[in-house]
């Protein structure tokens, strides 16, 4: 059933990483992703990669699941690799035919970039796999709350995000219902030319929009009844406190950076 579709990519669990504070996870993931770009040698990249693999182990998320996520971007990875392979012309020539010349520099560059992208996806999907959209939103709201000083409506943006998350399954259900109802009147969805297909969407989207506006209107009343008056002066049910887990993650991040900088210094730069 549609209602059972998982939103986002969250995999509930009780691993070390699942239990971390979402803010710490955001900081760690962001830090690790920057670290990938700080790497200049294969040796330092290996450290970041190993760290990522270690994190996946700790999270108890099967590698299979993670690789599924990689499949979606495999095309991007291949294109980038090919471009690097042909355009970087440093080092010894390995193969040369017609106008194409592949060099050792090109090869190592291409491998380097591929690994970078894969590790980047590893870290970011680990974040979404281990954090529910709700706590991710909460984490971001609190992490960015200093921006309130420069009048960024952080609370309001987070509220919008929460409501969107809340209504995704509801609207999903609704689309299913409307599609069935129009099919029951003989609507032919997904057949014929592009124009016909676009036309066939009208009976789905018009009611969906009309209903969404009605929902929004009713929700606004309900929120007013519950004294919502913008993000100011709100308190929260859940207080986030950093625990030992989070401090360990910061230490790991610091060690990671130290390692990268040292390795960058002692080995040959690829990029």
């Amino acid at each position: 059933m549609l209602r059972d579709a998982t939103i986002g990519q969250f995999f509930p669990g009780d691993s070390y990483i699942h239990k971390m504070d979402p803010r710490a996870k955001l900081v760690f993931s962001f830090g690790a992703i920057i670290a990938i770009f700080v790497c200049k040698t294969f040796e330092s990249l290996a450290v970041v990669t190993l760290a990522a693999i270690l994190c996946v182990f700790v999270s108890k998320i099967p590698f299979k699941t993670i690789f599924k996520g990689l499949k979606a971007v495999i095309f991007v990875i291949i294109i980038t690799a090919v471009i690097q392979l042909f355009y970087v012309k440093t080092g010894e020539t390995l193969v040369e035919f017609w106008k194409i010349k592949i060099t050792t520099g090109g090869l190592s560059n291409s491998i380097f970039i591929c690994v970078r992208i894969i590790v980047l996806i590893l870290y970011s999907s680990l974040l979404t796999y281990t954090t529910s959209p709700t706590s991710l939103t909460d984490g971001m709201e609190r992490l960015f709350s200093p921006l309130k000083i420069i009048h960024v409506p952080v609370g309001t943006l987070a509220m919008m995000m929460t409501i969107a998350l809340r209504f995704i399954p509801t609207l999903n259900d609704e689309i299913g219902k409307i599609m069935n109802a129009q099919k029951a009147r003989g609507a032919d969805l997904g057949n014929g030319s592009v124009i016909n297909r676009a036309k066939a969407l009208i009976p789905i989207f018009v009611p969906l929009f009309v209903n969404s506006f009605r929902r929004a209107y009713e929700l606004a009343f309900a929120m007013e009844c519950r004294c919502y008056h913008g993000g100011e002066g709100r308190t929260r049910l859940k207080i986030m406190t950093l625990s030992w887990r989070d401090y360990i993650s910061f230490t790991v991040l610091a060690v990671l950076y130290a390692g990268i900088i040292i390795l960058n210094h002692f080995f040959t730069h690829v990029i």
């Binding site: 209602r3 529910s132 809340r166 399954p169 509801t170 309900a222 519950r226 308190t235 929260r236």
Partner: protein, 285 residues
């Protein structure tokens, strides 16, 4: 000022704005007067479009009268400074349970009201747990709202209002979109809140068998109050109900039909059990 009155409608008139500025719509509420007492369970009956839902919105300053006044604990709803205090006193639960839950987790939804009011964290926790327990939803506190049944969603919505420590809950057709199971749940908890926790309940409905449970019934037609009294008094007025597009509860209608045939059943039969007792007493005589 009577301390016993929680909401007071005084000569209230209200009309909705038309999309077309040239046209002025007829009054949705006409010269409406009503005092709702603390701890009362009151039902407002009327057909669709009778103005009964407008009463819900008027009762906590979502809309304000065109003329006349609505006073909540003596505070005028037209005064914007009173807005938050009024909404902490009178909460409204709407018909569609899907469209009034804002959070992705039940307990966070219930916390929404207190969070908006700036209640300290510890107290929010306490209020949320209390409200969820009162509505029998505590074990679902970590559930996602969209995975609950209609009746459960509506109970979460009521808990969300209760967590603001409101004294009065106005329910605008809370069971119209529910299945019989959901209706039973909501009605049961509504009665519990009234009888055990002393909350004032205003139930807006077109289900006769729900209205029978109230202390007092108001019947609305075309924005006007056409009948008022205890269920027994109101359901004795068959003609008025008929004209208001409503019908008697089935048991009351059966009793009234049999009376017309010459059986001298007593007055005030409203529920099936009333009828069973009255009939067996009468036949055995």
């Amino acid at each position: 000022m009577n301390d016993d009155i929680i909401i007071s409608f005084k000569n209230v008139n209200y009309r909705y704005e038309s999309d077309d500025e040239e046209i002025s719509l007829p009054l949705a509420i006409k010269n409406f007067n009503l005092d709702i007492h603390k701890g009362e369970f009151i039902a407002i009956l009327g057909h669709n479009g009778s103005g009964k839902s407008t009463i819900a919105k008027l009762s906590n300053a979502i809309i304000v009268p065109e003329s006349g006044h609505v006073l909540v604990n003596g505070m005028d709803t037209a005064d914007e400074d009173n807005e938050l205090k009024i909404r902490q006193t009178v909460g409204v639960v709407f018909q569609n349970p899907d469209n009034q839950l804002v959070a992705t987790v039940v307990e966070e939804d219930v916390a929404f009201g207190p969070e908006n009011l700036g209640v300290p964290q510890k107290e929010i926790r306490q209020r949320v747990d209390e409200a969820l327990k009162a509505l029998g939803m505590y074990e679902y506190r970590f559930s996602e709202p969209h995975k609950l049944s209609g009746g459960q969603k509506q109970r979460v919505a009521i808990a969300g209002i209760m967590a603001m420590k409101t004294e009065c809950i106005v329910l605008d057709e809370p069971t119209a979109m529910l299945d019989p199971q959901g209706r039973r749940e909501v009605v049961k908890y509504m009665q519990k809140l009234n009888k055990e926790l002393g909350l004032t309940i205003v139930l807006i409905t077109h289900y006769m068998d729900e209205a029978v449970l109230a202390d007092r019934i108001i019947v609305m037609t075309n924005g006007e109050k056409v009948a008022e009294g205890t269920p027994k008094q109101v359901f004795a007025e068959e003609k008025i109900l008929e004209n208001a597009g409503l019908s008697l509860p089935d048991s009351a209608r059966l009793a009234s039909d049999l009376r017309k045939k010459g059986m001298k059943l007593p007055d005030g039969i409203l529920t099936p059990d009333d009828f069973i007792n009255a009939y067996s007493n009468y036949v055995n005589k």
